[in-house]
Structure formats: structure tokens, C-alpha cells
Amino acid sequence: MGFLKLSLKNIARNRTRNLITLTSILIAVGVLFSVVSYDRGFSRSLEREMRRTGVHVTVVPTGCPHEAATLLLHGGVVPDRLDRKTVEGIKDHVSDQAEGYYPMLLAQAHDPRRDRLDLVYGMPGDGMADIKPQWQFSAGAFPENEEEIVIGRSVAARDGLRVGDSVAYRTNTGLPADAGHPEVGRPDTVGKDTPGADTPDMVTGYAEQPPRADDADSVRTFRIAGILRTTGTQDDDAVFVPLSVTRAILGDAEGITALGIRLEHPGAATRVIRDIERSFAGVQAVTADDLLETVAGVVQSARVLSFSMVILVAVVSGSGVLNAVLMTVFERTREIGTMRSLGASRLDIFRLTMNEALVLTFIGGAAGIVLANLGAPVIESFVRGFLPYVPEGRNIVFDPLVALGSLIFSMVIGVLAGLYPAWRASGITPIEAIRN
């Protein structure tokens, strides 16, 4: 029998008390592991997502710096727009450094057939792959012409849409000549492959609800070329259409919400931004790094709160361990005295007591890591519910270093919590204990 076995046997004597203590350690370490894993995963995913946008500089109307981040990441509608003159001026200004331009225009569009108001994200059809290189499709691919669109996973699931189906959007009257080719609604082509439908028309009702005659010249239909895989971002709820469509929807032939610029040398981004902001009033330009910083700033408060919670839980659970071990020492004073009379040194008693604290925190810590890892999907979906932006994919990924760090953290709690009881136990003299 070794010291460890003796400590384990002692722990087993107070199962209920030690189980409660274990649970508190489990929670502390589980929370720590989740927070650190999520933080690392979030930062990694965010950086990857930012770097993959393919747009080095984004120019938007002057406003809250968060708007730029919102625009690219969150999908919100920014009310101000850049006018054509400004856009052309910027293009001319950076033409020797730019490799490509990606105008973006966001709008809310009404589909009279589905009676849906969609968030419509207008961008050059041939530029989608550059702006959103991280996209993965559950079906279909990027559009090949101006009559094709991409829809988010949630939109597809909500309305039972498939690749090849079509959607229709009402446009403003006075559609600009270059805004595309409005077509009269073609209800017989819509919703053909809707899953579970007895007949297409019965499910979608599109054939029964054709556009009104006065809408005929203001509704355009589009074929769904691709359906995105779930991204976990607002892209899931958006529809991506050619820029001309959002212009037509808004009745604005010139304005854009943002201008993305791909630079020949991405390292020149800071200089280009300074140059643009100095030369054009009413605009601000940001890089992917700025966006990264902005989003990171938004989540910083959540991070501080989370770590504060971890520290609080650690203090509480550490106190629990200290209390449990100290109670054990008091209860076993005579046993400790017996061991001293059998030749145990002060160090032996210190070690035995400290072992108990460490075993408790080790088991609790390991269980916390395992449970946090198993519960990662639940934690992720919970976090997605209240953070303004969460990168796509799984952010809590098992990282052996984080697991090791969390385990060391729990052991540190064990050492700190075990010090006082161990010191008290080792100070018990045999004669005092035997007389106890």
C-alpha cells in the first residue's frame, strides 16, 4: 500500500462530502476549459475567416466603426451609402494598387410568392467567390450568371427551397436600364422539387398565388444556383444576389453600402486607408485586421466576464476543497496521531493530506474537462445565442494544451486548498492526538 492508495481510501470514507467537493471542482475546471477553448477557437476561426475574405480594404460611409464589422460579418443593413462619384473617385485613386473592386449593397427585399422579407446581399456575381471564399455548399455552387443566386441554409430549410428552384423579388418602379432583365413571375417553375410535396403547387401555393397584374413589371425571378452549408453566421439567413438586383430593389442605381478592395500588395493596406480617408470626406476604410480588432473588442467584455466567473468559481471550489480536507483532518486527529506513533514523520502526514486535496482536484478537473468537451456543442449553441458574431464551424476544439493547462489549474487549486489542512495535520503531535 502506498501513500496514494491510503489517500484514496480516506477519500472514499466521506463519499457524499467529497462528491460535492468534486462537483465544484468539476464546474470550475469545466468552465475554465470551455472558456479558454472557446476563446482560442473563436480567435483562430475569426482570424481564419477574416483572412479568407479576399478583401483587404473595405470602404464604408463614415459612422460607427462597428458598422464596418457588422456589414461584412453580421449582415445588418447599413443605412448610409457611398455614391457613385465617391466610389469612382476612390477607384481612380487606388487604381495603381488595386487588383479588384467588390461593391456591396445590402437591402431588404420582399418575395411576394413566399410572402417573405429577405435580407438580400448584393455583390458582383463573378466576385462572390472572392468575397466569400470560405463558403461551402450543401448543394450547387457559385452563380454563373446574373440570373442566379445563392441562399443561406436557414432560408432554404425554412421555405423548403432546393437548387434549381426560383425566388422572386419585388423591385422598385423605375427600374434602371442596367439593373437586369425583369421577368414576369413564372409560378409554374417555382418550388418544383420541394421535398415532401404531393404536388409542387400544393406545398408552395405559388401557382395559386400568381403575382398581381400590376406587379408583373416589378417582379424578377432568380434560379437558386447554390445553397450554403450551415455557417453559424448571419449568412445562414441571407440571400446573395447580383448587385444589380439590390439596386433595383432599392431603386438606387448608383449607391453602394461598401466597396471592397483587393490590393496587389496586402501589406500596403494601412497606407491605402490613410490615403483614402485623407482624400475623401465622409468615408472610412478598414482592413481585415481592423475588423478582427473590432469584433475582438466586442467579445472582449464577454471574455472578461467569463474569466471573472472562472476565478469566482475557482475560489468557491477551492474553499470547498479546503473545507472538506480540513474537516477530514479534524475528524481523523487520533488516526493521524496513531500514524505518528507508528513512525510517520510530519512530512508523511503533510503528504497524505495534500494527496487528498490533489486527488480530489485531479479527479474533479479531469471530469470537468471530459464533460466540457462532451458538452461543447451545447455551449457553442448557447454562446451563438448572445454573441453578436461567431465565426462559422466548431469553435470549441479539444486542445491537449488547454486540457493540460486546465488540469494544472485544478491541481494548483488543490495545492492552495490543501496547504493549510496539510500544515495543520502535520503539526498534530502524537501525544496530543492519542489523548484526543
Binding site: 500500500m1 502506498g2 501513500f3 491510503l6 481510501k9 480516506n10 472514499a12 470514507r13 487520533r334 488516526e335 496513531t338 500514524m339 505518528r340 506513533s341 507508528l342 513512525g343 510517520a344 514523520s345 510530519r346 508523511d348 502524537p430 501525544i431 492519542i434
Partner: protein
């Protein structure tokens, strides 16, 4: 027989509530190797205090104690730990077995502190000697008082000590078990172990080679009534 334990002018004073209580007053004693001695005397006569000092559980206020030539007054706390581990075995009135350990693990416990590997053969021999081999895997609460005390004796012997100190080992036992324990202790002298037993029971005390009588912290010249 050679002298194993020697005390000279041994004093022990306790201070209780500002008052000095003399537990031992100039005790001069010798115990020989392989001797079975009992210490008898009324409560408060100092016999248990003497046992604790001989067993390095307490320090004297004055005088000297030597075990096998080692002066206990000159050694540190860790030195006392070592003497307890290597030279002394203890048996207590209330057995003091660890309830969470099996009988075998209780007996082997001192080896943990002396960092010695258990010798299964010796463990079996000890358990056979004290008659609890059938209780090897039982917990202390499954044993009778006599069995617990015999397990405690086996535990005291596992480190092969030179001295076995027992404080009222029959105090919680019936007559048959008390006699059995004393016979067991008596048998140890054949292995060269010095056995010193504190007891109130005069009949049992007479089973020893020698009785040391205590009264008021001093050796009594004549037998005392307990």
C-alpha cells in the same frame, strides 16, 4: 541480559492552569533486552507518561533516556520519528486501527512510513502468531475486541522492533482475551523483544518477568494497589 533502555533522574512536569504537575520525579530504571516487564500503579502515578517518553511520543522535562545507547534527549523531532519507526512498536488500549483499511493493510501500515517493502511471508507468520489469519481481509469493525488488539500487536511487530510498548492492552478486553494477549506479549521475549506493558490488572501484571510499581511519579519500593 544487556540493558536496552535506561532512564536517569527522569522528570516530567506538566503545567496546567499555571500550576506545575509533577508526573515523573527522578525515575531511574533499566529494561533489559528480551525482558517482559509490566508497569503498575494507580491512575495519575505517571506510568503512561513514562511509556510515552520511552516511546518518543513525549519529551522529558529533565533527566535522560537511552535506548540501545541512543540518548533520546539529544535527538530532533525527525530523529524521534526514526526511532519510533525502527526500534519501537506501540499497542494502545483502544487499538487505534484505521477503519478504512483491511486488517492486513493496518498491520502493514508502519512499513509505509519506514519505506520498506512488505514481506508476505512475515505478514502471514505474524497473523498466524496472533491468530487472526482468517481475518486478513476484514475491516476492523468486523473484528471482536480481542481480534482487534491482536491485530494491533501484529502491527506493532511488523517493523521488527526491539521494544514493544503497550498501554493498557487489555483495558477493553474480557478476561480470556486479556490472558491471550498477555501470553502473546510474553512469547515475544523469545524473539529478543523487550516488552513493557502498562496495566491496572495486577493478576495479568504478574505474568511478566518483572513488575515496576509507580506511585506519585516515583518508583515504589513496595507493591502498590491499583
Amino acid at each position: 541480559m544487556s540493558v536496552l533502555i535506561q532512564t536517569k533522574n527522569l522528570e516530567k512536569v506538566y503545567h496546567r492552569g499555571g500550576e506545575a504537575v509533577h508526573a515523573l520525579r527522578g525515575v531511574e530504571l533499566e529494561f533489559h533486552k528480551g525482558e517482559f516487564a509490566t508497569i503498575v500503579g494507580p491512575s495519575g502515578s505517571g506510568k503512561t507518561t513514562l511509556l510515552h517518553i520511552l516511546g518518543c511520543l513525549d519529551r522529558p522535562s529533565g533527566g535522560t533516556v537511552e535506548i540501545d545507547g541512543i540518548s533520546l534527549s539529544d535527538i530532533s523531532g525527525s530523529g524521534q520519528d526514526r526511532i519510533r519507526r525502527e526500534m519501537i512498536g506501540f499497542v494502545f488500549q483502544e487499538f487505534h486501527l484505521i477503519p478504512s483499511l483491511s486488517v492486513a493493510d493496518n498491520i502493514l501500515l508502519p512499513l509505509l512510513f519506514s519505506r520498506k517493502e512488505p514481506d508476505p511471508g512475515y505478514l502471514d507468520h505474524l497473523m498466524e502468531t496472533v491468530g487472526i489469519v482468517h481475518r486478513k481481509d476484514h475491516r476492523p469493525n468486523q473484528l471482536s475486541g480481542g481480534e482487534m488488539q491482536r491485530a494491533a500487536v501484529a502491527r506493532a511487530l511488523i517493523n521488527r522492533p526491539q521494544v514493544l510498548l503497550a498501554d493498557e492492552p487489555s483495558g477493553n478486553l474480557d478476561t480470556d482475551n486479556s490472558i491471550r494477549i498477555f501470553k502473546l506479549l510474553d512469547s515475544l521475549k523469545q524473539e529478543g523483544i523487550t516488552v513493557i506493558v502498562v496495566t491496572h490488572n495486577m493478576e495479568l501484571a504478574q505474568m511478566a518477568d518483572r513488575q515496576v510499581h509507580f506511585r506519585d511519579g516515583r518508583l515504589a519500593d513496595d507493591p502498590v494497589r491499583c
